[in-house]
């Protein structure tokens, strides 16, 4: 009998403690967001906590938020996706190629772009499962391939959307479904993306198998789950969120910028980790990731408003990640020694 085996009598309080702790952690992330928000509100009382600035914060969280949804799905399976940043740039270029170069209608162009993103993920998933490459290597290669292809396909130039022909495309990001509300559509898109990710992760087989694979891949396979197939599905789904990020960033800028994208994957991973998803897999939260994306957005925005030079922003962000993950590990260690 190992030390982990507790006598049944001792279990009842442990269970309540366990679920209580889990809830506490989600509260902690949210409380962290509030604390940071309040700190900036005090530091810049007139400019930070205004309606329009809050909209700015939400607006700038959209792209990272979309990518981070996919990143969460992959990381929960104990994988990693380094290709979501440049994959986003390539998706944007593909969207522009479909619509601007080929003249495909906007709705179809968006669908094709999302399908293309799924294809990127499919290749990632295949490399990980069929070829057996470590996810880090497979997606690192994909990151480079996407970076290169974005330049190749676009001819190393930004592709600009036509304000008339692709009016509805640009409206998707900067338009207002509710005129005069100052509430850009991009935020609605993020909310829809988060809702879909939440349903997929918490209510479908994909989420169940995702957590199971991340918790113990061998045991999941021996339980009769086709782990390879489901990993490919998970990476492909993440690819759809990557492409959605590409749609949202190019709609916001009014153009597809082929040379951007690198670095976004790290922000997406950071948002996921801050949100309490474990890099070792088996545990994750979509709402946590949303909070993580918002924390990053609040910090970036707040530091700008209190006029901290841009170059300091990543220093602060890095420090926040160290603190958050350190606290998370302390919790996990406590759980293990019990």
């Amino acid at each position: 009998m190992s030390l982990l085996d507790a006598p049944p009598a001792a279990l009842a309080p442990a269970r309540t403690l366990d679920s209580w702790k889990q809830r506490l952690q989600q509260l902690l992330a949210f409380a962290g967001l509030l604390v940071i928000f309040l700190a900036f509100s005090i530091a810049a009382p007139t400019t930070f906590a205004t309606y329009s600035n809050v909209m700015n914060i939400l607006f700038s969280a959209v792209v990272i938020g979309c990518l981070a949804m996919g990143a969460t799905l992959v990381i929960v399976s104990a994988g990693i996706d380094l290709s979501c940043g440049t994959g986003m740039a390539l998706s944007a270029v593909m969207a522009a190629t479909f619509m601007v170069t080929w003249g495909i209608p906007v709705w179809l162009g968006i669908l094709l772009t999302l399908a293309f993103g799924a294809f990127i993920g499919f290749v990632n998933g295949t490399a990980v499962t069929i070829l057996g490459l470590p996810p880090f290597i497979a997606t690192l290669a994909m990151m480079m391939i996407c970076q290169g292809l974005a330049l190749v396909v676009s001819g190393v130039h930004p592709i600009y959307f036509d304000p008339v022909a692709q009016k509805s495309y640009l409206w998707l990001s900067t338009g207002n479904l509710f005129p005069g509300s100052g509430f850009p559509n991009a935020i609605l898109v993020l909310l829809i993306a988060v809702t879909v990710a939440y349903l997929v992760f918490n209510k479908t087989l994909l989420g169940r198998y995702d957590v199971s694979i991340g918790s113990n891949m061998e045991a999941t396979a021996l339980s009769g789950i086709n782990v390879k197939k489901w990993l490919i599905v998970i990476y492909s789904t993440a690819g759809v969120f990557t492409a959605l990020g590409g749609v949202m960033i190019s709609a916001r800028l009014g153009s597809a910028q082929p040379a951007t994208g690198a670095g976004y994957e790290m922000q997406a991973i950071a948002a996921t980790v801050i949100g309490g998803t474990s890099l070792s897999g088996g545990k994750g939260s979509i709402i946590g990731t949303l909070i993580g994306a918002l924390i990053i957005s609040v910090i970036n925005n707040g530091l700008q408003i209190i006029m901290l030079p841009q170059q300091w922003q990543n220093v602060v962000l890095g420090t926040v990640i160290v603190i958050v993950v350190f606290i998370d590990q302390l919790r996990n260690k406590q759980a293990k020694t019990r």
């Binding site: 442990a14 209510k203 087989l205 199971s212 113990n216 021996l222 009769g224």
Partner: protein, 507 residues
């Protein structure tokens, strides 16, 4: 107690227990100068515990070790080596990306000025050593490129480079062919001088006669007997090995021969271990798989469920031939596998009972469209907890907080909810306390009487005797015999589990 001065190595009344288990109690062992002492015992008899105590990996609780009349009290294997006691483990401890010479002198490299390595000197010393041992090895060869037999020679050379007086070899021949075994035995005879000795641990009975002078049998952490090899028989050794009292009150329930064959395996082979395995599993029967560790039983199970690829062989299910490529397919066909290593291959430890019970069946039984029917899944998990009497505060409990027996029941529940007809239990009671064992036995009997067909792999012979309607005995990847419940005794099974070498010679 005073050491016996004429003994090379003496183990005197050594005790060691782990929480809940007594691993060794009153262990004795006497190694004389210039002899090869065979050490035999079943799996779990305490051989590896003894070795770990000797080399300081574990701390002993009482008793004493004597080496040449001096107390031996070391804290690390390296210290033991420096005192002249070296162990060749079954799993070789070599760094495969280094050369022969680098491995032998690892951590003791000849240095110039305390800083720079002297590769030339290292090679020269290695040559000297290898020449002295008459070993045909290239000091510059990468260990990764050597055969297992040659790697073993490197280990032996390394041990002897410490000027070892006592060499303990743990199943040194498990990966060797007959020619290599003979070569190893020559090497051992060359090593043994009036000032040295060898403890030779093996499962292969014929080797005892070939190489040892005396044989010590241990069982259940206790010293049983030592006999001169010349004046004993292998039968006597085997009966010493298994001679523990058997609970005769419990026997297999409802033994019958007329049941239909549900699973039939013919000529199964895998690349690594399984060699021409054939057997039939009848409906409602518990088929025991006996054998020693490494006999290929787990590998056979994994091959059947498609976890490892098979190179040849046929599997039929209810008379129809099937090809099983992966465990997912096996599950669809109603074959569930419960691994010997629950934590590694069975449970999602950080997830709750509901998940662990439902994972195999959720796709087919608890989904409406793309969404899960969480309520139905939860109810099924609760029913399973009630049915199998899994002790847990709720189905939301993470399984890592359950006891071993309840964890095992959780996995059994998984396959019951999946409605599997064939259940393969690999060491179902390993690491489970006595009370929970009884419950598992009872559960297996109930399942069999309800028409489930059960393969029970077990290294505990009394467990096989108590549960199995028929017994398949394996050795070295092959089936060495199939016994009915009446013919199965500890002696007959142990003989089949160890005599494979003999068979081959007779053929």
């Amino acid at each position: 107690m005073r050491p016996h001065s004429s003994l090379l190595l003496q183990v005197d009344d050594v005790h060691k227990s782990f929480p809940g288990v007594s691993a060794l109690s009153g262990m004795r062992l006497d190694l004389r100068h210039g002899e090869v002492l065979g050490l035999v015992g079943e799996n779990g008899a305490g051989k590896s515990t003894l070795m770990k105590l000797l080399t300081g990996i574990y701390a002993r609780q009482s008793g004493q070790f004597w080496l040449n009349g001096e107390p031996l009290d070391v804290r690390t294997p390296r210290e033991a080596e420096e005192r002249g006691l070296s162990i060749i483990h079954q799993e070789l401890n070599l760094v495969s990306h280094l050369t022969v010479a680098e491995n032998i002198w690892l951590g003791r490299e000849p240095l110039a000025g305390g800083l720079f390595t002297r590769p030339g000197e290292q090679i020269r010393r290695t040559r000297e050593l290898l020449d002295r041992l008459e070993m045909d090895l290239d000091p510059r060869a990468l260990v990764a490129h050597l055969s297992v037999a040659k790697q073993q020679m490197v280990e032996i050379a390394k041990a002897l480079s410490f000027d070892a007086k006592v060499l303990i070899m743990d199943e040194p021949t498990s990966a060797l062919n007959e020619a290599e075994v003979a070569q190893l035995h020559t090497l051992i005879r060359r090593f043994v001088t009036p000032s040295t000795g060898v403890v030779y641990i093996t499962h292969r009975m014929p080797e005892l006669t070939a190489i040892t002078d005396r044989i010590t049998v241990i069982r259940d952490g206790k010293y049983i007997a030592t006999t001169d090899t010349a004046s004993t028989t292998l039968d006597a050794v085997i009966s010493h090995m298994v001679g523990r009292a058997v609970d005769t009150s419990a026997t297999p329930v409802g033994v019958r021969d007329d049941r239909e064959v549900i699973l039939s395996v013919r000529g199964l082979r895998t690349r690594t271990m399984v060699d021409d395995v054939s057997f039939d599993l009848h409906k409602g029967e518990v088929l025991g798989f006996a054998g020693l560790m490494g006999a290929g039983r787990t590998e056979t199970a994994r091959a059947i469920i498609g976890a490892d690829p098979i190179t040849s062989g046929r599997i039929s299910l209810r008379g129809k031939p099937v090809t099983i490529r992966n465990p997912a397919q096996a599950a669809r066909l109603g074959i569930g596998y419960l691994s010997e290593d629950r934590k590694k291959y069975g449970l999602m430890l950080n997830l709750d009972v509901t998940h662990n019970v439902g994972i195999s069946s959720v796709a087919h039984r608890f989904c409406a469209g793309v969404f899960e029917r969480k309520g139905a899944l939860r109810r099924a998990a609760e029913q399973t907890v009630d049915l199998l009497k899994i002790k847990t505060p709720s189905v939301n409990q993470r399984v890592k907080y359950l006891s071993g027996g309840n964890q095992q029941k959780t996995i059994i529940g998984r396959w019951l909810v999946k409605d599997c007809d064939i259940l393969i239990f690999d060491e179902p009671t390993r690491g489970i306390d006595v009370g929970a064992k009884e419950e598992i036995y009872h559960l297996l009997n109930t399942l069999a009487s309800q028409g489930k067909s059960i393969i029970m792999i077990s290294s505990e012979l009394p467990e096989i005797l108590r549960m199995a309607h028929r017994v398949v005995v394996m050795s070295d990847g092959r089936v060495t015999g199939t016994l009915s419940a009446e013919d199965a005794t500890q002696e007959s099974m142990m003989a089949l589990a160890t005599n494979h070498q003999q068979d081959k010679k007779e053929q």
